[in-house]
C-alpha cells in the first residue's frame, strides 16, 4: 500500500508530522502511523500551556491493541489541543493530516522544523519501514 504524505508537512522518524503556520505549528501522527495502529479509540492529549522539548512524549494514542507514545516533533508550548478527538478519535484514522490533528504549538525554534524530513524523504523512509514490517 502506498504511504500517504502531505506536501506541506515535515516528518520525524517516529512517524509524527508538523506543519508551520506563522509562528505556530500543527502536529499529529502520519498516515503510516495510523494505518499501523488501526482503529484508534482514544487520544490522551496534553493541557494547553504545557511545554515540551523536542522529542519529548506529549500524547498517547490508544488503539485496539496497544497504547503508543507520541513524541513532539519540535520544542514549544501547547497553545491548543484538538478537542474533537475526545469524542471522535477515529478522525485520526480518517484524516490524519487534517481533521485528525493533535495540537497547535508555539514553536521555540523554527529551524528545528527545517531539519526534519520533507514529504519525499519521509515517504521513502516510511515505505522502507513498511517493507521491513511485511517480512
Amino acid at each position: 500500500m502506498a504511504v500517504k504524505v502531505h506536501p506541506d508537512c515535515r516528518y520525524t522518524k517516529s512517524h509524527e508530522w508538523v506543519r508551520m503556520e506563522g509562528e505556530h505549528a500543527y502536529a499529529g501522527i502520519t498516515d503510516y502511523a495510523q494505518t499501523q495502529l488501526s482503529d484508534i479509540v482514544y487520544v490522551e492529549l496534553p493541557e494547553p500551556g504545557d511545554s515540551f522539548s523536542q522529542g519529548e512524549i506529549y500524547a498517547v494514542v490508544e488503539s485496539v491493541k496497544a497504547a503508543s507514545d507520541c513524541y513532539l516533533p519540535v520544542a514549544g508550548e501547547i497553545v491548543e489541543i484538538n478537542e474533537e478527538l475526545e469524542d471522535t478519535p477515529d478522525l485520526v484514522n480518517q484524516d490524519c493530516y487534517g481533521e485528525g490533528w493533535f495540537v497547535r504549538i508555539l514553536v521555540e525554534d523554527p529551524d528545528e522544523v527545517e531539519d526534519l524530513m520533507d514529504a519525499e524523504e519521509y515517504r521513502q523512509f516510511a515505505e522502507e519501514a513498511e517493507e521491513e514490517g511485511a517480512h
Partner: protein, 365 residues
C-alpha cells in the same frame, strides 16, 4: 517454529495483519479493522480461523470416570449431542484450563485452549492411572472454524446436511458441510448465535471459501483475533491467562456453576470446598470507565489512592461505545455501582463496577 494454518495464504491475500499466537500465524485483523469486524458479528456474521485451538478425544470404558476425576463439572450429567463447559483444576483448586466437552455416542471430545494444548495433554496423561481410557490429542488433524453472528444459520444451512433450525444453543451434531464430514456445535466465544465447525484439516480452504461465497453477499466478513477478544469480553467470557489461570480458582472467577462440589474425588475438590466455605476473598468484577482511557491487562485497580486489585482484560467495547474491563478486587468492592479507580499510566481514572455481562448474549435473551 511458528506454524502456518491451512488458510495462511487466504489471510495474506486479503491483507490480514498476521501475528504469532500460541505457536501459529493468525490474523489479528483484516483491513476492515477490528471495530467493524466486531460490529459485523453483532449485526450480520463473521468467520474466524481458530485452527490454533486444541482438541482431545477421550475414549475407552473408563472415559467417564476419567473425566469425572479431572473435570470440576459433573460430566455424568452431560447428554449426547450437547456441549458443556468445565474447568479442569490443579489440586490447589487453581485452573489448568477451561474446556468445552462434547459427549459423543462412544467417546468425549474436549476442546481446549491453544496456549494450553501441550500442557493439558500432559496433565490428562499424568492422571489416568488405573483407568482404562485412551487420551488422544487430535489437534493436528482437526481444523476449527467459527461462524458467528445472527446470520450464521442462514449462511451455513445451504451447505450443511443437518437441519440447523432444530439445533438449540450448545447442541452439537455430526454432519457434513460442503460434503465434508464435520462436527458442528452451536457454540462460540462471541456472545452471539453461531457455530463452531470441526473437520479434517485438509478441507479448510474448501469450507472457508464456500462459507464466504455464500455469506459475503449477506454481509459475512472474515474476522481476526482482536475482534474475537473484544466480542468475548463484552459477553464477559473468561480468557485463560487473564481471568483464569494457575493462580485463580473457578470460584473467584465466578464459575462456581461449573464446579460440582458434591461430586466426589475430582482433582482440586478439597481446596475448592475449603475456598467455598471460607468464601472467595477476591471477586472477578466487570467495570465501565467513567473517565476516558483504555484499561488494560495488569493495570492496577485503586480506591482512595490505595491499590486494591488488578485488571485482567480491558478494551474499547464497540457495541457499548465505552471503555470496559474485568478485574479482581476484594469482596468489599465487588458490588455493582461501587466506584473504583483504574491506574492508567499511573493516573487514577474513575470507573464503576457493573453487573456482568456488558453484553447479554443474543441466545440468552
Amino acid at each position: 517454529m511458528t506454524k502456518q494454518t491451512e488458510l495462511y495464504a487466504r489471510h495474506v491475500e486479503r491483507d490480514a495483519r498476521m501475528v504469532e499466537y500460541a505457536g501459529y500465524w493468525l490474523p489479528v485483523q483484516y483491513p476492515t479493522g477490528p471495530k467493524e469486524e466486531h460490529l459485523r458479528v453483532r449485526q450480520a456474521a463473521g468467520l474466524f480461523d481458530i485452527d490454533h485451538m486444541g482438541q482431545v478425544r477421550v475414549s475407552g470404558p473408563d472415559a467417564l470416570a476419567f473425566l469425572q476425576r479431572i473435570m470440576t463439572a459433573d460430566v455424568s450429567r452431560f447428554r449426547v449431542g450437547r456441549a458443556n463447559y468445565s474447568p479442569m483444576c490443579y489440586a490447589d483448586g487453581t485452573v489448568v484450563d477451561d474446556t468445552f466437552i462434547y459427549r459423543l455416542p462412544d467417546s468425549y471430545f474436549v476442546a481446549i485452549n491453544a496456549s494450553n494444548n501441550a500442557k493439558d495433554t500432559r496433565w490428562m496423561k499424568a492422571h489416568h492411572g488405573g483407568l482404562d481410557v485412551t487420551i488422544e490429542n487430535v489437534s493436528e488433524e482437526t481444523y476449527m472454524l467459527a461462524l458467528q453472528g445472527p446470520l450464521s444459520e442462514q449462511i451455513l444451512q445451504p451447505i450443511c446436511a443437518a437441519d440447523l433450525t432444530a439445533m438449540k444453543y450448545h447442541s452439537a451434531v455430526q454432519t457434513t458441510v460442503a460434503d465434508v464430514p464435520t462436527f458442528v456445535g452451536r457454540t462460540g466465544y462471541t456472545g452471539e448465535d453461531g457455530f463452531e465447525l470441526y473437520f479434517p484439516a485438509e478441507e479448510a480452504v474448501k469450507i472457508w471459501d464456500r462459507l464466504l461465497e455464500i455469506g459475503e453477499p449477506q454481509g459475512l466478513i472474515p474476522c481476526g483475533l482482536a475482534a474475537r477478544d473484544s466480542l468475548r469480553l463484552e459477553a464477559c467470557m473468561p480468557l485463560y491467562g487473564q481471568e483464569i489461570s494457575a493462580s485463580r480458582t473457578p470460584l473467584e472467577a465466578g464459575l462456581g456453576w461449573a464446579v460440582a462440589l458434591h461430586k466426589e474425588g475430582f482433582i482440586g475438590r478439597e481446596a475448592l470446598l475449603k475456598a467455598q466455605l471460607e468464601g472467595p476473598t477476591e471477586h472477578l468484577i466487570a467495570f465501565v470507565m467513567a473517565d476516558r482511557g483504555v484499561p488494560r491487562h495488569e493495570y492496577a485497580v485503586a480506591s482512595d489512592g490505595e491499590v486494591i486489585g488488578e485488571v485482567t482484560s480491558g478494551i474499547y467495547a464497540p457495541t457499548l461505545d465505552a471503555f470496559v474491563g474485568m478485574a479482581y478486587v476484594p469482596a468489599d468492592y465487588a458490588e455493582p455501582e461501587t466506584e473504583i479507580d483504574i491506574l492508567i499510566r499511573d493516573k487514577p481514572r474513575r470507573a464503576k463496577v457493573v453487573k456482568k455481562p456488558f453484553y447479554v448474549p443474543a441466545y440468552r435473551r
